[in-house]
Symmetry: C2
Subunit: 425 residues, 2 copies
C-alpha cells in the first residue's frame, strides 16, 4: 500500500462526464490498495470566467484589498471541483471527503494572487485516510494568518499537489495533464521530439523556468526542496488501463543523477517568445549603476529575466535585459522617465520581437563544447545571436523571433534528440 497524490488539470475536470472518468481512475487506484489524496483544478474555463466577471467590475485591480476579493472569487472554481469530485467518488462507492484550502488548512503568506505556501496541516487528511477515505483538496489556494483566502497564481494547483505530497511524505505525486510527459522539446515545433522517461529535478527546473508549460515552476521547486517523487503523465489514457502501465507512464522527475536512465548531454530544448529585450546604451560605468537601472524597473513590479552587462570601454557600457512582453511598454516608460535622467545614459532601445532558445542538460556539467556546438549550429543556419546567458546546466540565447522554430529544430537534431536518432542507437 502506498500513499499517492493525484493532481488533475482543468481539462480533466471540464465536464461532469470527465469528472466521472477521473473518479473511476482514482477508484482504480483505491481498489489496488492505495491511499489517495486528489487535488483537482477548477473546471476548464471557470477561473477565466470568474476573473472576467471581476474585471468587468474593476478593470485593473492592484490594491491589496481588491486583490483579496479577486482571490476570494477565483478560489471558488476549485471549491466546486472538489465537491463534485467527492460526489463522483461516492457515487462509485468510494468514501470521499472534500476540503477547501482553509479547511485543511493550507497556510500561505498574504501575497494575494501569488501567495506562497508556508505550511500544510496533515492531521485532518491523515485522519480521513486512516478511515479509508479519499481526500479531495482544492489546489491553487490557501489562507493567510488572518484567515483571508489567498491564491497561488496560475498553475498553482501543481504546486498545491506537490506541497500536499511533501507534507504527507507521499510515495509519489502523479500530475495528470494534457500532455503525456516531458518532451525533448515541443512536439508541435519538432515532430521528432521524444518523451523522456525521466528527467532530473535540476533539468526540469530549467525547462519550467525557460517556458516549458508542463509544470508550474514553483511546483518543481517544491518537488526538489522536499524530494517528492513527481510524475507527469497523461489524463487522456482510458481510465481503465492496467494500473502497472499507468504507474510507469509519463515522465518521472528524479533526484539522483544515477537514477537517470538516458545520459544524454542535452536533455531538452526549451523556448519562450513571451519576452522583450531592452538595452540602455552609453551607461557611465561606475559602481552602483546596475542597481540604478534595475531598481526602478523592479520597483514598478516588473520581473526581469536575462541581464547582460558587457565590458566597458571609454568609461561607458551597454546594459541589456529582458522582461515579459506584457511589461515591455511600461518598462520602457520607467527607463525613459526615471533611469535616463538619473544615470546620464545615452538612450534606451528595445525590441519585442525576440525569443529565447535554451539547451538544458545535466550532462553539460561534465561535457565540454556543448555551448560551442549550439553556437555553431545556429551560425550554420544563419541565425544571429543577440544575447547569451549560461548556467551550470543550460545555455540560453536570445534571437530574432522569426528564427525560433528553425533554431529549435536545428538544435534538436544537432544534439541527437530526434526520436529516430535514439532508435538507431
Amino acid at each position: 500500500m502506498a500513499l499517492i497524490v493525484h493532481k488533475y488539470g482543468g481539462t480533466s475536470m471540464g465536464s461532469t462526464e470527465r469528472i466521472r472518468s477521473v473518479a473511476q481512475r482514482v477508484a482504480k487506484w483505491v481498489r489496488a490498495g492505495h491511499q489517495l489524496v486528489v487535488v483537482p483544478s477548477a473546471m476548464s474555463g471557470e477561473t477565466n470566467r470568474l476573473l472576467g466577471l471581476a474585471k468587468e467590475l474593476m478593470p485593473n485591480p492592484s490594491a491589496p484589498e481588491a486583490l483579496r476579493e479577486l482571490d476570494a472569487v477565483a478560489a471558488t472554481g476549485e471549491q466546486v471541483s472538489v465537491g463534485l469530485l467527492a460526489l463522483a467518488l461516492q457515487a462509485q462507492g468510494v468514501p470521499a471527503v472534500s476540503y477547501g484550502g482553509w479547511q485543511v488548512p493550507v497556510q500561505t503568506d498574504s501575497a494575494y494572487t501569488k501567495a506562497r505556501i508556508a505550511s500544510i496541516d496533515d492531521a485532518r487528511i491523515r485522519a480521513d485516510l486512516a478511515c479509508g477515505k479519499v481526500v479531495v483538496i482544492t489546489g491553487f489556494q490557501g489562507i493567510d494568518a488572518l484567515g483571508n483566502v489567498t491564491t497561488l497564481g496560475r498553475g498553482g494547483s501543481d504546486t498545491s499537489a506537490v506541497a500536499v505530497a511533501a507534507a504527507l511524505k507521499a510515495d509519489e505525486c502523479l500530475i495528470y495533464t494534457d500532455v503525456d510527459g516531458v518532451y525533448t522539446t515541443d512536439p508541435r515545433i519538432v515532430p521528432e521530439a521524444r518523451r523522456l522517461a525521466s528527467i532530473s529535478f535540476e533539468e526540469m527546473l530549467e525547462m519550467a523556468s525557460l517556458g516549458s508549460k508542463v509544470l508550474q515552476i514553483r511546483s518543481v521547486e517544491f518537488a526538489g526542496k522536499y524530494r517528492v517523487p513527481t510524475r507527469v503523465l497523461s489524463s487522456f489514457t482510458p481510465w481503465d488501463i492496467p494500473i502497472e502501465d499507468e504507474a510507469q507512464s509519463g515522465t518521472l522527475i528524479t533526484f539522483e543523477e544515477d537514477e537517470k536512465m538516458e545520459q544524454a548531454v542535452v536533455s531538452g530544448i526549451a523556448f519562450n517568445r513571451d519576452e522583450a529585450k531592452i538595452s540602455v546604451i552609453g551607461v557611465p560605468d561606475r559602481p552602483g549603476i546596475a542597481f540604478q537601472i534595475i531598481g526602478p524597473v523592479a520597483a514598478a513590479n516588473i520581473d526581469i529575466d536575462v541581464i547582460i552587462q558587457n565590458v566597458s570601454h571609454d568609461g561607458r557600457t551597454d546594459f541589456s535585459f529582458t522582461v515579459h512582453r506584457n511589461d515591455y511598454q511600461r518598462a520602457m516608460g520607467v527607463l525613459e522617465s526615471q533611469v535616463l535622467p538619473a544615470t546620464g545614459a545615452a538612450r534606451v532601445i528595445g525590441d519585442a520581437k525576440i525569443c529565447k532558445v535554451s539547451i538544458v542538460g545535466i550532462g553539460m556539467r561534465s561535457h565540454v563544447g556543448v555551448a560551442s556546438t549550439m553556437f555553431r549550429t545556429l551560425s550554420e543556419e544563419g541565425i544571429n545571436i543577440q544575447m547569451i546567458t549560461t548556467s551550470e546546466i543550460k545555455t540560453s540565447v536570445v534571437i530574432d523571433e522569426k528564427y525560433m522554430e528553425l533554431a529549435v529544430r536545428a538544435l534538436h537534431k544537432a544534439f541527437d534528440l530526434d526520436a529516430s536518432a535514439v532508435a538507431a542507437e
Copy 2:
C-alpha cells in the same frame, strides 16, 4: 447614523451591470452616513447550475457525506457574489471587505442543505464597520462545529440577513427583492391587490407559511424572535432615488399592534397549490391512532401541513392531512404498505389537485364572523370546501385546485382589500 443590513436577491446580482447598480445603491446609503452590512444572494441561476452539476454526478444524494459535498458546492455561488460586490464597492470608492460564512463565522448545526443558524460572531464585522468599511457577507451558509460548510436551504439568504441584523442589533434590515413589498394577495391573480405599508410579524409569519413567497419563513421567525425591524422593498427602483423615499418604501414588518397603520380585519389572502390531500378512511377510533398514522409518514421525512380528524361514529373515524405534492406518491405508499395493515383502517384515498386558500389578519382576534364571511363568500361562488383549519389570526380552506383564482378574487373583494375599496374610504 444608523447600522443597516441590506439583502439583495439573485436577480439583483444577476449580472455585473446589476451588481454595479447594487454597489451604487449601497454607496448612497454609506454617503448618507450609515454603517452598512450587505448580504447578497448568488447570481441568479448560479445555485441551480451548481446543483445541476452535482445532480449529474449523483442524482439523488441523501447520505450525510453526499449532502456535505452538495453544500460545499452550492455555497460557492454566494462566495462569488460577495467578492464581486466588494470589488464593485471599492470601484465606487467605498471601502469594502467580503466574508464567507466560515470567516465570520456564522455557526450552524450540521443539518446539511437545511442547517439552522446557532450563532453569529459579530467581532470581525464590528471591527470593519468601525474602520469605515462596508461588510459584505455570504447569505445561505455557515459552518458547523467541525468546520464543515453548511447551507440553510432555499431562500436562506433572507434568514442570513435577518440573523446578521439580529446579531448586530441593526436598526433595520432591508430585504431588496423582485417585488416592491407585501401585497394583500398575489397581484398576478388579483390585479386590484394592494401593497401593505406595514404588516404585523404574526401576519407575515402566516403569509410566509401559507405560500406567499416574499420571504423565507425562517427569516420571519428570526425577525420575530429578535424583533428585527425588517422591510421588504423593491430592488427595481433606480438606485439614485432619494434615500428618504427608499427608506419609506415597501412593507415594514412590525411588532407592536398599535404600530399598524391600517386596522383591517383581514390583511391578506394567501394561497398555495403545492399540496396534496390524503385521507385514511375508517380508522378505528382509539388512543394513539393519530401517531400510528402520522408517525410512519414523518419517519419517511415527509412534512405534513394541515391535519384534520373529525368526530367519530360507530367507533370509526376519518383522518385527513395534506403533504407537499412532491411527496404525495411516497406518502400514499407509506400509508398503504405500513399504516393500513397496522391500524386496520379501511382504505386510503388521495387527491393531488387541491389548493389551500387562507385569510390572514390580526383583526380576526377581535372581530367575530370573519370565518363565516369567508365560508359564505365561497358558497356564493359555488365552491365546495373540503377541509378547514383555523388559528388565532388565519383561516384556511382546502378546495379544488380549479377554483383557486376565483376563490382568491372573491375573498379579496369580500374583505374590502381591493385598492379601489381603500381609495374610496
